[in-house]
């Protein structure tokens, strides 16, 4: 195989500088420093660049390596030697892999080395951040054998020739899967192994296609016992189906929806009276330079035994702001991001904060050199240097609480300072962080399982803290006041005179009995300390408790779960809603997934998807109808492809699992056979079979012209002239 690999390298090394250049430029663009750069996205931007460039480069390399050698003359020259076609294929794969690896790894290694040499003093970067991009680049290499597969694939239409490339697109999604959020390295290892297995499958499929590329284009004679080819082509069918329906969904949306308000989704909330609402909630946005607060735009009160309607008109305009969303109690899961930005990354021009996954909060000012200003741990704050002190257990700035002025009468400077006072929570306690002085003070030390900082009013800014510790729900109110003994202390930096605030926690209540399991619960609290909790499983239940009135038992009642609906968009044109509701939920769901893949929207969680299928009975009926229809279409396509009875039955059964992707998989895997009329029975018969499928007649030899001269026993008996 060595001479073949040398030949491949010699022919394709010219692509290496191209690869190095495009990878290098793309990565350099990602890591060029900038003041407004979000470094928490370093991994994702590097990975996105690696996917974009890696996909194109792997595809181009695979095409370049095979396009020439599948031509008649060059193929005959290359194939006719004392080596197997398999060796020829793998020499291409190995040579292509070497070129691809150098083109991708050298720029990534330089990036990693640069990150390492600069250190966190320069920016929140670390060489390990390059690893996701390396894994993404590895995933993209699956397109190289897919491209070879595509080039040798006999297809009458260009679109179906592309099927192998469609088939490996799911491999590019593997780096996004995070099966072990607790451990970055195990997640990386898992992704790498999964990708290697997928590349092996794609390579085997491409090898088989390569080795059989001399075969007749009447591919329907094959029984497709090669499961790797079947897998890739079935995957292609599924991807084509999802993309096709995704674009159909987008088209229908654009056709019927009119103006779409983004980021609107159904959500629960509570009003000042402690009543639970269910309605359409719009996230905060900036329109025309004006910040629009998140608010409910429609909805109804959740009542016992009734179904709430998220589209009810709100009675009064002011209700929109009085209904406040309720929160999921949660904790920070590690994840793959090494430096996570605070939810409000830029705080009034002071700088940016990032949570280092090793347990420290880093303060940066990118207008200064070095940019790193402070390193904050649980018990201390340091200027520059390496991180010291006790690390945080979990990201305290992921959902930190920011103080706002309420009853205090403050001047502008004091008001600014107040807004720099924050409440941080990790799994070891609650802290007051003074952003002005960059000091940290523990307010409570306890093992915290879940927590939520709740603002009772998004304008005035009362903060409540709910934590679950040792199986109890602790409810605190956060107080903040100017320090009485000193209104001003010494300057710590040049940004103005500091003002010190005293922040304390007041325990409102400790509830021994939790409202069911908190895993599937959302919880909220009103200004006058009424707690409302809504749990969704096994049955939608509302629990309320009035702390101010001294209640200690939850008042619990059930309601009807609202019907499934699209959670991502609110259609101004309500006429579209009935149309959507009439479509089978499986089709709507598929459109949604397709839209997500096409980048139109994104799936927030599994529960989003389950919105489509939460009515089990309806779903089962629709799914059954859809499956039966898919099976009928599958059988029809299999018959049209003239597959054997056994194959027809097997593929039809596969439609139960693969759904509408199955007929597309058949179209991808089998070429429609050519037929001619049978001279005996008159029915169309396949030209690649020696006997007629219908009457078992053999092909009749061509008519003798009477001029044949043969000496090997092949002598036509007829002596009739051709023109007689």
């Amino acid at each position: 195989m060595r001479p073949l690999i040398e030949k491949e390298l010699r022919e394709n090394l010219k692509w290496l500088p191209v690869g190095l250049l495009v990878f290098g430029v793309a990565l350099a663009y990602c890591v060029i420093p900038g003041g407004s750069k979000d470094y928490s996205a370093t991994e994702s931007t590097l990975s996105a660049s690696a996917v974009m460039i890696g996909s194109l480069f792997a595809l181009a390399l695979g095409v370049a390596q095979s396009a020439f050698d599948v031509r008649t003359a060059s193929k005959s020259y290359l194939w006719h030697r004392a080596v197997t076609p398999r060796a020829i294929f793998y020499s291409k794969l190995i040579a292509g892999g070497l070129i691809y690896a150098i083109a991708a790894l050298v720029p990534l290694a330089i990036t990693a080395a640069w990150f390492g040499s600069q250190g966190i003093r320069f920016a929140p970067v670390r060489p390990l951040q390059v690893v996701p991009a390396m894994i993404a680049a590895l995933a993209c290499f699956s397109l190289h054998p897919a491209a070879i597969f595509m080039m040798v694939r006999s297809a009458r239409w260009f679109g179906t020739k592309l099927f192998p490339v469609f088939g490996v697109l799911p491999v590019l999604l593997i780096p996004m899967i995070e099966p072990f959020p607790e451990s970055i390295l195990i997640s990386y290892l898992f992704a790498t192994l999964a990708i290697l297995v997928c590349i092996a499958i794609v390579a085997k499929a491409a090898e088989n296609a390569w080795c059989k590329s001399v075969a007749s284009d009447e591919g329907a004679t094959e029984s497709l016992q090669d499961w790797t080819r079947t897998t890739v082509l079935c995957s292609a069918g599924a991807v084509a189906f999802i993309i096709g329906f995704g674009f159909l969904g987008m088209f229908l949306s654009s056709l019927f929806s009119g103006n779409i308000i983004p980021s609107s989704y159904p959500r629960y909330g509570i009003d000042a009276a402690g009543r639970l609402w269910y309605g359409q909630h719009v996230s905060s946005s900036v329109e025309g330079g004006i910040l629009k607060y998140p608010q409910f735009i429609s909805g109804s009160i959740v009542q016992e035994g009734k179904v709430p309607n998220p589209y009810d008109e709100l009675a009064e305009k002011k209700n929109k702001k009085e209904i406040l969303p309720i929160y999921q109690l949660g904790r920070y899961q590690g994840g793959r991001i090494l430096f996570q930005a605070a939810s409000q990354a830029v705080i009034f021009g002071v700088g940016q904060r990032y949570f280092d996954h090793r347990g420290f909060v880093l303060f940066y000012n990118f207008k200064k050199r070095p940019a790193l200003q402070s390193i904050i741990s649980r018990d201390s704050s340091h200027l520059f240097g390496e991180a010291v002190g006790k690390p945080f257990d979990g990201n305290p700035i992921r959902s930190h609480g920011m103080m706002k002025s309420s009853d205090m009468k403050l001047n502008d400077d004091q008001n600014m300072s107040l807004r720099l006072q924050e409440i941080w929570v990790d799994q070891n306690g609650v802290y007051h962080f003074n952003g002005k002085l960059r000091t940290i003070q523990a307010l409570a030390e306890m093992k915290i399982e879940d927590s939520a900082l709740i603002r009772t009013d998004q304008v005035r800014g009362e903060l409540r803290l709910m934590v679950v510790s040792a199986g109890k729900l602790h409810l605190y109110e956060v107080h903040c006041a100017l320090k009485k003994n000193r209104e001003a202390v010494a300057f710590v930096d040049e940004s103005g005179p500091p003002t010190e605030f005293e922040v304390s926690l007041e325990k409102i209540a400790v509830l021994l009995k939790l409202p069911r399991s908190l895993d599937n619960c959302q919880i909220g609290i009103t200004e006058d300390r009424k707690i409302v909790s809504v749990c969704f499983a096994p049955q939608p239940t509302v629990s309320t408790l009035d702390c101010a009135a001294g209640e200690s038992e939850w008042n619990t009642w059930t309601f009807q779960k609202p019907p499934a609906d699209r959670p991502d968009v609110e259609f101004n044109d309500k006429q579209f809603k009935p149309l959507v509701s009439q479509l089978p939920s499986i089709v709507v769901g598929t459109c949604y997934i397709g839209s997500a893949l096409a980048g139109e929207t994104y799936i927030r969680s599994w529960s989003d998807l389950m919105y489509y299928v939460n009515q089990i009975t309806t779903f089962m009926v629709l799914a059954t109808i859809g499956t039966i229809l898919a099976m009928i279409v599958t059988f029809w396509v299999a018959q049209h492809r003239r597959l054997s009875t056994g194959l027809k039955v097997r593929w039809t059964l596969w439609a139960i699992f693969l759904g509408w992707g199955t007929p597309l998989a058949i179209i991808a895997a089998y070429v429609k056979p050519r037929t001619e009329p049978c001279s005996r029975c008159g029915k169309t018969r396949r030209i690649d079979l020696s006997t007629c499928e219908h009457c078992r007649a053999e092909w009749e030899p061509p008519a003798n012209e009477g001029i044949e001269i043969c000496d090997d026993g092949f002598q036509r008996t007829s002596r009739q002239p051709a023109n007689a």
Binding site: A73, A82, V83, I687, G706, I709
Partner: protein, 316 residues
Amino acid sequence: MLNDLAIEARGLTRYFDSRMVVSDFDLSIPRGSVTGLLGLNGAGKTTTLRILMGLLAPTRGESYLLGKNSQCLTPDDRARIGYTVEGHFLYGWMTVRQSEKFHRETFPRWNAGMFDATVRRFGIEPSQKIRHLSRGQKAGVSLALTMAAEPELLVLDDPALGLDPVSRLALNETLLDFCDGGTKTILLSSHLLDDVERVADRVAVMVHGRLVVNTTVDDFRSRVSSWAIEHSPATRGVESIPGLVHSRQLGGKTVVTLADCDQETEAALTRIGGATCERLPITFDEAVIAYLSRSRESHSFLSSNSKRGQERMALD
């Protein structure tokens, strides 16, 4: 039987889309023979050779090379078979020596002396880049590479295409040297009839994807005859002569070429030409061209004219 045959094809048929390019092709070539495969462009020669070499699958039918199914040739089988591609494809970026190295490393047997001798015969320097060689020199390198692997069977697809007379002579001499021992088999596709006559001992002619001649050169010569008939109203009926390969007008005579002329044929000739009927000497070239002309006419507008003429005659 199978072991005595270097090449055997049974009912080979190949379609490209809905067009049949090779039709029910049967061929048997004994070991130790040199066979010339003749036919017009588009007759299906290259397709047939690619099927025989296992580089293209037949739509139906089967073929065997050295007793092995040509769709299942192993590297060992391929090492015993030499094949030159139409146009003498070689990697242009390689030098002649690099080409030799590439081949030597992918074939188990290698006769370096034969390679050097062959390239010398074509006046080629081993250090020359392939892309800088003339067509004849490329043919020389291609032939040298194929034969240095010491194959038992040599399949050449139009090796003399575009060669100058000197290169053609060198090619013919190389082939004659190669099969000197009588144990090597050659299947040679070509348009150069005199070269084929000089080198080959068997001839196969393809017309419209069908094999119409497969015999020894001598047998072919002896079984094809040519006759001249004076023009008369009766000569319009030459199309009805059994075994008519081709007819053409030459001066005031109609020259007909016939296959396997027997008593029935002679009776038809006498009926049409009477006493004016005269047997002409026929060369190998003329016999082959008669077959190929028949093929060409059926593709041209002349054939339809001819059919219309026949219809008119029938009406008369």
